[in-house]
Symmetry: C2
Subunit: 308 residues, 2 copies
């Protein structure tokens, strides 16, 4: 049995893709989430609400992890950007990492976000782009990172901070752009979107999971962008979904207004992760979308809905 890692958020979109990779690399994977039902067959799971003080200590003492992969956060669509739960997660994350370090843990990997950057700069570099977040979510992630970076040398752990750009793939929340368009088209309903000229950095969830697995296995420190590095207009991804499903007729691009705060371009500079870690995306947009469509076709079939 290899070294032991405690994974929070293992039942989320990225966590689901990541856990099998870690097992494949020989990690002794333990998971934790508020629900006992979210455990995986054959994996030790620790039901705990980390927002409750003292629960982190209980889990850490039970697991005695060498490494911590902290993906859990408050992500409810429509609320995550401004929710005061972001502050709860700063407190809970600090408690978790302090308990982890106090128990002798040495490697910490946390999921950060492109929302830590000042999006007015557009092209986001770890070394150059200012971290002036526009949302409480981004503020909270950024502040957590600052404290953990300051704490690491005092508490004796090494920290890698994976800044995720935009994820897509199976298990993404159904209300987000890619699943929403796919589900509408599968049901034969119109998909209404904004103008779609916003340029973003989308990466298939398996590639993001591979990046996190690499961060855990390496000694790299500090923030490191996890993105495709490829600018992609939202309308392009929507049109590809239309093509894949043969239902471009249902696309109503421009039917709803874009948020006034929407920024024209947000793309990650991925020089660091590609040059320092030899990581590169493996799943093309078309392949990723195909897999995502298959996932939703099965989900909808399971729900008994008629699909195209």
């Amino acid at each position: 049995m290899g070294q032991r890692v405690l994974v929070t958020g293992a039942s989320g979109c990225i966590g689901r893709a990541l856990v099998p990779l870690l097992q494949g690399q020989g990690w002794d994977v333990h998971t934790s989430s508020p629900s006992a039902a979210e455990g995986r067959p054959g994996l030790p799971h620790h039901a705990a609400d980390l927002l409750v003080p003292g629960e982190a200590r209980r889990v850490v003492r039970a697991v005695k992890p060498d490494a911590l992969m902290h993906l859990a956060w408050f992500m409810t669509p429509g609320r995550w950007a401004v929710a005061t739960e972001n502050v709860e997660w700063v407190r809970a994350s600090l408690e978790l990492v302090q308990e982890f370090a106090a128990a002798g843990g040495v490697r910490v990997v946390v999921s950060g976000s492109c929302l830590e950057y000042d999006w007015d700069f557009g092209y986001c570099s770890e070394a150059r782009t200012p971290c002036q977040p526009h949302t409480l979510y981004g503020v909270a992630k950024n502040a957590l990172r600052l404290v953990l970076e300051g704490l690491a040398p005092q508490a004796g752990f090494r920290l890698a901070w994976g800044r995720v750009f935009l994820v897509y793939g199976p298990h993404e929340h159904p209300d987000r752009l890619v699943p929403a368009v796919i589900r509408s088209l599968l049901r034969g309903e119109p998909a209404r979107t904004s103008h779609g000229r916003q340029v973003r950095d989308y990466l298939y969830v398996d590639d993001i999971a591979r990046a996190f697995a690499a961060l855990l296995a390496n000694d790299v420190d500090g923030p490191i962008n996890i993105g495709s590095g490829q600018p992609l207009a939202l309308r392009t991804i929507v049109e590809r979904i239309g093509d894949l499903l043969g239902r471009s007729d249902l696309l109503q691009i421009g039917a709803i207004p874009a948020a006034p705060t929407d920024k024209p371009l947000v793309v990650g500079d991925v020089t660091r992760i590609t040059s320092e870690m030899g990581w590169a995306p493996e799943v093309s947009l078309d392949e990723g979308l195909r897999r995502t469509v298959e996932f939703w076709r099965e989900e909808l079939a399971r729900d008994g809905a008629p699909t195209a």
Copy 2:
């Protein structure tokens, strides 16, 4: 009875000077600290260790404050800069402010620090100087401020963040520069210091307390420097103490090495507090030192030590 304010850290150097000012302004002052013995005669005091989760809620629900003056932090000399207790205080402070806001409180004033700034810039402006702290203490204060600034509009309170430069006056910890020199000279012992060419921004504690009282009474938002704005070489302050006590013969300036990380100059730009709030220092360096000397003369006499 006026509006009610909960003051943490009321038994500290600044808190002791501040509480009477707040009372004089008509505030209904409640204090909180871990020790029941630290209460003041005639003031409601709530013994609570805010580092223990749940204690903030208990105190806030008992007090029902309109305003919060949060001065408490971990300040043990020799350890405060790097202590992991700084992270505990981030967690505790977030919990305190969230509980305060949840109970309907609307005005929050927190003591920040010049250590939030990148000291390589020397002259520190709220608007222009980057916050790139060199210590875990500064990192923690800065991160707490970032989260509270992001939280304020969501949770419905207004935040003023008083960035204290260097304080001196009665009740400062005896191991810090000004008390250490005064105590040595009062005892007729040599006072050994570094070269003393480091330029800093010292302000007498009563002037700092007046600034905090003004922050509480006003609606000003965000970080605001609390300093003299006057550059002062450490050796000047040491020499003044020697003059005041007529014991310059005991000064051994340059006898110990300066810390290699010491920066040449740290001075606050106090344009904001002077122009927006009409505040100005009232206690001259000579007067402040005289009062501080008197305080220590009485302290040492009480301890039975012979003094010059």
